[in-house]
Symmetry: C2
Subunit: 339 residues, 2 copies
DNA sequence: TTGTAAGCGTTATCAA
DNA sequence: TTGATAACGCTTACAA
C-alpha cells in the first residue's frame, strides 16, 4: 500500500541504504544523488514510516507527561495547563511528540507500562506522583525522567524544576511590610505540600527581617472549607489585629475579600491583600489584586528541555532549577507606607 | 540487552509464535503451555516491546488530540481540560495512549506528520482547527478522526461531538421567563463561532414562545473589551429596560454583576443573571450564580469512544452527538415569578 | 495445539 | 560515495 524506501530506491536506481542516508541528512551523499532521491520522494509523496524507524532505532521520539489523576484540580489548574502547553511546544521544537498519561495507583500502572514496553524515551513526573517504588523502577531501567515541582523525597538526588516559592513569598511579605502593614497573615489551603512549606518559610524569613513581626506571624489553613476560612479570617482581624493577608491562591483571596467586605473593612487602607497566581480575574477584582506571578510556561519549557538533554545524555549543569517569580503591584496592597 | 520473546521461548522449550499467542490472549493454547510461558515471563521480567509490536501490526495504539495553539485560552479553559482528562481516561481504558499536539499553520504541519508518518491511529480535532485542506488530507489517507465541537463547515459530513448549546441556552431563557423576567439580554464575547450562534438561536427560540419578548431581544458582544461590555450593560438596563442577562461565560457574568453592583441594582429582584459554565467560582458569587452546566467530561469521553469505534471500523450509529446541558438554579435568577 | 518461516520498513555495519 | 546484508522483536499465514 504505502510507498516505502525501496520504491524510492528502485525508481532512482540506488540502494535503500542510500535513500535512508538522504532521509537522515547524512552528508556523505553526492549532491546529484541526493537531489534525484529528493525529487523521487516528492513525486511519490513518500513519507518515512515512523513505526519502522522507531523499531529500527530503538527510540520513539516521544516523551510522556504524567498527570496526577487523583488530583481533581490538576486539569482545572490554569497554571498547570500552561506548563503542558509549554512542554508540548518544547518537545515539538526538538522533534519529540508528547504523550499524556494519568497515573493510577493500580498495580499494572500506566507508567511502568510506558517504561517497560519502551513506549516513550523519557518522562516528566509531577512531584505529587513521586514515590520510592516508582523511582526504583526508573533508576533500575536507566530511564530518563525529570520531576515537575520540588519533590518531598530525594530532592537532592533528583532532577527537578520548580517555581521559587520561597522567594516569591518572601518578596510579597517584604512588599507588605514596606507598605506599612504590620500583622501579616498567611492563608493557605494546606501547609503540608512542599510548595506550601516553602512559601511559609519565605513568609517567616521576610518577617524575621522586621523586628517584632515574627512573633505575630500566623498561618491559617482551611482545606477546602471556606466557611471555616472566613471565621479564621475574622478572628485574625478582630482578635489578633491582622492588617494584611498573603493568600496562596485566588480562591482564598476571593474569600478573604468577601469577608472583609462583609465586615466593612476597607481595602487596602485598613487591610492589604496579596495573592499567589496572577489569574485573569485578579486584575478585575475590586480592588485589583496584587499578585505573585508564576511563569508556568517557563516551568514547563525548562522541564522539557532538561528531559531532552538527559535523553541525549548531555551533561546537565544543575539538578534543580528554580524559576523566579514576579511581583505584580496593584491596588489591593497599596497603602503607600502609611502607618 | 532486553529479554525478548525468543528468550521466553527457549526457556520454556516452545517456539516464539506460541509465546506471542499467549501475549495476545489467543485461546487455542493449552492451559499447561500457557501457564509455563506465563511463569517464564514473570521470572525473566519480560515485557513485550511496543515498538516492535507497532511495527509488526501496523498500528500504534495511540490517538492524538490536536490543540488549538492559536487560541491562548484553550489551555486556560477549565472545560476544555476536563475533556482532555476524559479523553485520556477513555483512551487508556481502551488500550490506547494519548498524544497531544499543537496545530500550527506551518506548511509541514504537525498534523500531516502524524498522519503521513503513521504516528497515531486516529485523531481528535477541535472544530476551530477544521479546514478544508486538512479534511482532504485525512479523507484521502482514509485516516480516522472525530471533531470536538460542531464545525462550521461540512458539519453534515463529519463525525462530531458537541454540547447542546441550543437547548442549554433555550432552557436558561425559558427559566428566566418563568421567573417573571421580561427583557432578557444575551451577553457574549463573540457572535460568530458556531457555539455562539447556536446559543443565540436557542435564546431566540425561547423568546419566541412568550409573546412580545422576541421584539425586545438584544444580543451584546464585546470581544475582550470589558469596559465596552459594562457600557453596553448600562445602556441595556437604562435605555431598554433590560431585567435579566444570559452570559456566555463566567468572566462576562462577573462583569455584569460588577456593573449592577456599581449602579445599585439589586440581584435578583431587579435584575436576574444566568451564566454558561458552572465554574467553581459561580457558587460563591454574591448572589450565587445560576448556571448552565456543561458536562465536558462526557464530551471528551464520547469523542474518544467514537474515535476508537471508527479506528476499529465498527459501525457508528450517528455522525453527530449532542450532550445535554444541566441547568443549575441558584439565587441570581430566583425572582419567584414576581412581576 | 504447536512450529516454521516470511514479512513489517528502516537503520547500521561492513565491504567495495 | 555507494551497495549488500544483517538486524531490530514481534505477528501471522500456513503447515504439521
Amino acid at each position: 500500500m504505502g510507498v516505502t524506501i525501496k520504491d524510492i530506491a528502485k525508481r532512482v536506481g540506488v540502494s535503500p541504504s542510500t535513500v535512508s542516508r538522504v532521509i537522515n541528512g547524512n552528508t556523505v551523499i553526492s549532491d546529484e544523488t541526493r537531489k534525484k532521491i529528493q525529487e523521487a520522494m516528492a513525486e511519490l509523496n513518500y513519507h518515512p514510516n515512523s513505526r519502522a524507524r522507531n523499531f529500527a532505532t530503538g527510540s520513539t521520539n516521544t516523551i510522556a507527561l504524567v498527570i496526577d489523576a487523583e488530583d481533581e484540580n490538576t486539569f482545572s489548574n490554569t497554571f498547570f495547563n500552561r506548563s503542558v502547553y509549554a512542554i508540548e511546544k518544547a518537545a515539538q521544537s526538538n522533534g519529540y511528540n508528547l504523550l499524556i498519561t494519568n497515573d493510577t495507583d493500580d498495580a499494572g500502572s500506566s507508567i511502568s507500562e510506558l517504561v517497560y514496553e519502551k513506549k516513550v524515551d523519557g518522562l516528566i513526573l509531577p512531584s505529587s506522583r513521586v514515590r520510592s517504588g516508582l523511582l526504583e523502577l526508573l533508576n533500575q531501567e536507566g530511564f530518563p525522567y525529570v520531576v515537575l515541582g520540588e519533590p518531598d523525597i530525594c530532592s537532592d538526588n533528583l532532577d527537578w524544576v520548580d517555581v521559587n516559592n520561597f522567594e516569591g513569598s518572601k518578596n510579597a511579605v517584604t512588599h507588605l511590610l514596606d507598605q506599612g502593614y504590620k500583622r501579616i497573615v498567611f492563608a493557605a489551603e494546606d501547609t503540608k505540600t512542599v510548595f506550601s512549606k516553602k512559601r511559609i518559610e519565605g513568609y517567616y524569613s521576610a518577617l524575621d527581617e522586621e523586628k517584632g513581626c515574627r512573633e505575630k506571624a500566623e498561618v491559617i489553613s482551611c482545606g477546602e472549607n471556606y466557611s471555616l476560612l472566613c471565621e479564621k479570617i475574622e478572628d485574625a482581624i478582630e482578635k489578633q489585629g491582622a492588617d494584611a493577608f498573603l493568600c496562596s491562591n485566588n480562591v482564598i483571596a476571593y474569600h478573604v475579600m468577601k469577608t472583609l467586605k462583609n465586615h466593612n473593612y476597607s481595602m487596602p487602607s485598613q487591610v492589604g491583600i496579596v495573592t499567589f497566581d496572577n489569574y485573569p480575574f485578579a486584575e478585575y477584582m475590586d480592588p485589583p489584586l496584587s499578585a505573585v506571578d508564576v511563569d508556568t510556561y517557563l516551568l514547563g519549557e525548562k522541564a522539557a528541555s532538561l528531559l531532552i538533554k538527559k535523553i541525549n545524555k548531555e551533561e546537565v549543569e544543575k539538578r534543580a532549577v528554580l524559576i523566579d517569580t514576579e511581583f505584580i503591584f496593584r491596588d489591593s496592597s497599596k497603602r503607600g507606607g502609611l502607618e
